[in-house]
């Protein structure tokens, strides 16, 4: 049963009115006058009875009448299921079965299968059923059929997979299935552990009006779990050697007691590090392995902990690209002096893992071969080329390259656009005090070295700098203290372009002489090259476009399946369906792969906190989709028959009020009323 106007149920609060009337001192405001109480005050009177209900029958009658009226105004109606059942209609049931990783928790999947089988067994022979299995994606595993054995076979054959949960996708597929549903009363049966993380995407979904959704939450409320949420691995320079440092971020939840765990690190299939740690009942723990010698080639690694009830999230894989140096093309103007770029060259020469290799070029010599060799191009006080060379440069940026423009006195002196990021508008002269950087967006990767040391960026003084006007879509990463943009960025495809309002020399400021210069210059090179943009691992359900492959790419999945990336040549990608390491090849899948990517389960699958069924449908709306069979709008007669019950509530209330009047006017109640209602007469 539901209500057309449930707001009127607030009227049930009026139930308190009869109670208050019965509890209050009767006629306290208009008391019964009596000539003198000189005799009554001598009597011992039990005052404790003043606040007790003395007339329960009348109170119940009145409260019941008020309650019936409130419910009647809320317009109760019979549910569609009840109406359909009463009419003996055939049901069309969509069984939605969650097969995400979290369903692999010990005992959960068996309970889900049992629940699904029980639902199937409860269907009538004429009822139709379709089975939708889902994780991050959903598919109709069994189209509409009356043969429950087929549906049962699908349930038996399905098993949890190492993927996330998106209940919204499942409901959408199930809604689509209703379009082809045979005539009957449609119904959804959702069998899931109702992970809260799987609810994203449900809000905004519109389901047919009046569609019943039965939710079978098969997981227990508390499921203790330990998971590796993330792994950090990086090369660090240790004297003359390059070491690999690995950290694992562990999370635990609802463990009955702290437990000891063994955490292992394996590189290229060989165990190279072990740690033991005591995991808290609920909390987080960071485990740092001893640094190990890092090979110069790409590294494939794996961190694992002792398996628990949900083993799927107890292993985390990662890949670290080869340390083959970072090639940076420095494009110089024709009239550049040798000492202008001295500070930059020296700064980029310092540092390893990765090391930076500079390649000096003039604007006219920036050809395709140079772009193929380099990860980033830095224009030293010279504008990026236009025409065909500019288009080529644009495509290169779209594919993941990075360009930077250092605006010195040459560029600042002329007006013009710079790489679609900004345009110059003159030159500012702030001598002798000089300007300083302010309003720095320190969350940007470019400023990562300065987090916690913001004063370092405020130290340099800039006496002259270019006035830049940001282009549409460009972000201002830092400004001078007068509000003028100092560093701007605009992303384009997989690449990026950065423009700085000053050059890296000591003629117009003291930036190269300040401690901030070295990390800033190196970070700019790494950022332009997209060095930090390559994640160590991805999660199932993501797509991967191995852009390093230019011809005939082929990708080998962890189970050996060969996949052809689909889509535009520049963005051809594969969907990462399996946990493990995907390898990309050019032409044939043999030899050394050109690229690798490690794939783990989504971190949300380790969050086993369940949601309530009502929470699931919180954001689900209703639609009147006439294309869905059996969910057509009810007829006027049917609507009337479903809501006519309100009349009985009103009739009941009226009868109760009549009874109340009769009872209240009879016997001692009536005498009492007559005796107290006559006012004293005044002459």
């Amino acid at each position: 049963m539901g209500f057309l106007v449930p707001a009127f149920l607030a009227g049930l609060a009026a139930l308190g009115i009869p109670l208050l009337m019965h509890l209050r001192d009767r006629n306290e405001e208009t008391p019964t006058r009596f000539p003198s109480l000189m005799f009554l005050v001598r009597l011992p009177i039990r005052t404790s009875d003043r606040r007790t209900v003395t007339d329960w029958p009348l109170l119940l009658l009145r409260a019941l009448a008020v309650g019936l009226l409130a419910v009647a105004f809320a317009r109760p109606f019979l549910g569609r299921a009840a109406a359909a059942g009463a009419a003996g209609r055939v049901r069309s049931v969509v069984l939605l079965l969650d097969r995400s990783l979290s369903m692999g928790f010990a005992g959960t999947w068996a309970a889900a299968q049992d629940s699904a089988r029980a639902r199937l067994a409860g269907l009538a022979p004429d009822d139709q059923v379709a089975v939708v299995v889902f994780d991050e994606e959903a598919e109709v595993a069994q189209p509409w059929t009356k043969d429950k054995a087929l549906a049962r076979a699908v349930v038996d054959a399905t098993a949890p997979v190492a993927r996330g949960t998106r209940i919204g996708a499942a409901l959408r597929v199930a809604r689509s299935a209703l379009v082809s549903a045979p005539p009957g009363a449609p119904e959804f049966v959702l069998i899931s552990d109702l992970q809260r993380s799987g609810l994203s995407g449900v809000a905004g979904l519109a389901l047919p009006k009046g569609l019943p959704i039965a939710v079978a939450a098969v997981a227990p409320a508390v499921r203790p779990n330990t998971a590796i949420r993330a792994v950090q691995a990086r090369r660090v320079a240790d004297g003359g050697r390059v070491q690999l440092q690995v950290q694992a971020h562990l999370v635990t939840r609802d463990l009955p007691a702290p437990r000891a765990a063994r955490i292992t690190l394996a590189l290229a299939g060989r165990e190279v590090g072990v740690r033991t740690a005591t995991l808290p009942e609920t909390g987080e723990l960071v485990v740092t392995f001893d640094a190990v010698p890092a090979p110069g080639t790409a590294v494939e690694g794996r961190v694992a902990i002792t398996p628990d009830a949900l083993p799927g999230d107890d292993t985390s894989r990662f890949t670290l690209p080869a340390d083959d140096g970072l090639a940076l093309a420095l494009v110089l103007p024709d009239d550049v002096a040798r000492e202008e770029t001295l500070y930059l060259e020296r700064a980029l020469a310092i540092g390893r893992a990765p090391s930076v290799r500079l390649e000096m070029r003039r604007v006219g010599a920036l050809d395709a071969a140079t772009l193929d060799r380099t990860a980033a191009v830095l224009f030293w006080d010279v504008a990026p080329p236009g025409g065909p060379a500019g288009e080529r440069l644009g495509r290169w940026v779209e594919a993941g390259g990075g360009i930077g423009v250092l605006v010195g006195p040459r560029l600042a002196g002329r007006r013009g656009a710079l790489a679609g990021v900004a345009s110059t508008a003159g030159r500012a002269d702030r001598t002798p005090a000089g300007a300083m950087l302010g309003d720095v967006r320190d969350e940007h990767p470019l400023f990562a070295p300065f987090r916690g040391a913001a004063a370092a960026l405020a130290a340099p003084r800039f006496f002259r700098y270019a006035r830049l006007e940001p282009a549409v879509g460009a972000d201002v990463l830092a400004r001078f203290d007068d509000g003028a943009p100092a560093i701007l960025e605009r992303t384009s495809g997989a690449g990026r372009a950065v423009v700085l309002a000053t050059a890296f020399d000591a003629r117009d400021g003291d930036l190269p002489l300040q401690p901030a210069f070295l990390p800033l210059a190196r970070r700019l090179a790494l950022h332009l090259a997209g060095h930090e943009a390559t994640p160590l691992a991805r999660t199932t359900g993501e797509s991967w476009a191995p852009r390093v492959l230019r011809r005939d790419p082929v990708v080998a999945a962890p189970d050996g399946t060969l996949l052809r990336p689909t889509g535009a040549p520049a963005d051809a990608a594969v969907i990462l369906q399996q946990v493990g390491v995907y390898a990309a090849y050019e032409g044939r899948a043999d030899g050394v792969p050109r690229a690798r990517v490690a794939v783990n389960v989504p971190a949300g699958e380790s969050e086993l906190v369940p949601a309530s069924p009502s929470e699931l449908l919180l954001g689900v709306g209703e639609s009147a989709d006439s294309s869905i069979r059996g969910v057509s709008a009810p007829t006027a007669v049917e609507l009337e028959s479903r809501q006519r019950v309100w009349r009985w509530f009103v009739l009941g209330a009226v009868l109760l009020l009549v009874a109340e009047s009769v009872i209240a006017s009879q016997g001692w109640r009536g005498r009492a009323r007559r005796a107290t209602l006559v006012p004293p007469e005044r002459s």
Binding site: D25, R26, N27, E28, P31, T32, R33, F34, P35, S36, L37, M38, F39, L40, V41, R42, L43, I45, R46, T47, D49, R50, T54, W668, R669, R671, A672, R673, A675, T676, V678, P680, E681, R682, S683
Partner: protein
């Protein structure tokens, strides 16, 4: 012809606002049904002449005086004029109560007006004392004070807390000339204290007649539902469940009545309980009886 009782029905009389008219209606209605012989046998000691007033018995006209003065005079006798009747009317808040159609104060006012008219008609001097906690207004007895008495009655309003014994003591103080004191009250006072005050009146040579005004609800306490009761005088409020206290209340009430009767009898005072729903004739009879007894004593 209208039955005499009609003129004495308190429910009917309560609708008449003009007190003199009311009193005359009552007395005439009463006297109309009264046997004439009731007035015979009064004292024959001549006291003075009084100018004829419409309604006076023509047989009492002194024709000799008429022959001399060409005006009608009536001969007044000693017994008619020698008594001063002081009506002591309780105007405390408790008198402002009615469970029926007539409240106690309205009844008392009609009663006093009628008795005053009757007394005046019989040649008595009439006066009025109203009291609540203390004396409110005093009209000394006089043959010419009937109008003042009527006006004082018209002004009187029942209110405030009553203190009957000290009020009667105060009446005794101001009524120095012995006469008849008619106390009209609902007797909400301790019988012993009230008796002492009446004793003081008697000691000063007054004949005392007490009309105890009663409402039926005071005698039966007919309430059933739980309610908050408010004292008519003090406004004290008391939440009560009448079922629980009725028997004990009625017991106390009856004991009070019996104590009053005993105490007034001991004091030689006529005690007349009057219910507000009963005709006035019994009160008038009682007054006349009392008046006659006093005449005989004199």
């Amino acid at each position: 012809m209208t039955a005499p009782e009609t003129f004495l029905d308190p429910a009917l009389l309560a609708r008449i606002a003009d007190l003199p008219l009311l009193a005359r209606t009552v007395v005439d209605g009463f006297m109309h049904g009264l046997h004439r012989s009731a007035r015979k046998g009064l004292s024959l000691d001549f006291a003075e002449h009084r100018q004829y007033q419409p309604g006076d018995d023509l047989r009492r006209i002194d024709w000799k005086a008429y022959a001399r003065t060409d005006r009608f005079y009536l001969k007044e006798y000693e017994a008619d004029t020698n008594a001063g009747v002081l009506f002591a009317l309780d105007v405390s808040g408790s008198m402002d109560y009615a469970s029926g159609t007539v409240n106690k104060f309205a009844y008392a006012r009609i009663l006093v007006a009628a008795l005053a008219w009757l007394a005046q008609r019989q040649g008595d001097r009439v006066g009025l004392a109203t009291y609540a906690g203390t004396l409110v207004e005093m009209v000394p007895p006089s043959t010419r004070h009937l109008n003042l008495v009527m006006h004082a009655l018209g002004r009187a309003r029942p209110m405030g807390e009553g203190a009957l014994p000290p009020a009667i003591d105060r009446v005794a103080d101001v009524a120095t000339r012995p006469g008849i004191v008619v106390i009209v009250t609902d007797c909400y006072a301790e019988p012993a204290a009230l008796g002492r005050s009446v004793d003081a009146l008697r000691a000063r040579g007054h004949d005392v007649l007490v009309f105890h005004l009663l409402d039926r609800a005071e005698e039966t306490f007919p309430f059933d539902a739980s309610a908050v009761f408010e004292d008519g005088e003090t406004a004290l409020r008391l939440p009560l469940r009448p079922d629980e206290v009725r028997d004990r209340y009625l017991g106390l009430w009856r004991a009070h009545r019996q104590a009053l009767e005993r105490r007034f009898a001991a004091a030689g005072v006529d005690y007349v309980p009057l219910h507000t729903d009963e005709p006035l004739d019994r009160a008038l009879y009682a007054f006349l009886d009392h008046r006659l007894s006093r005449s005989r004593v004199r």
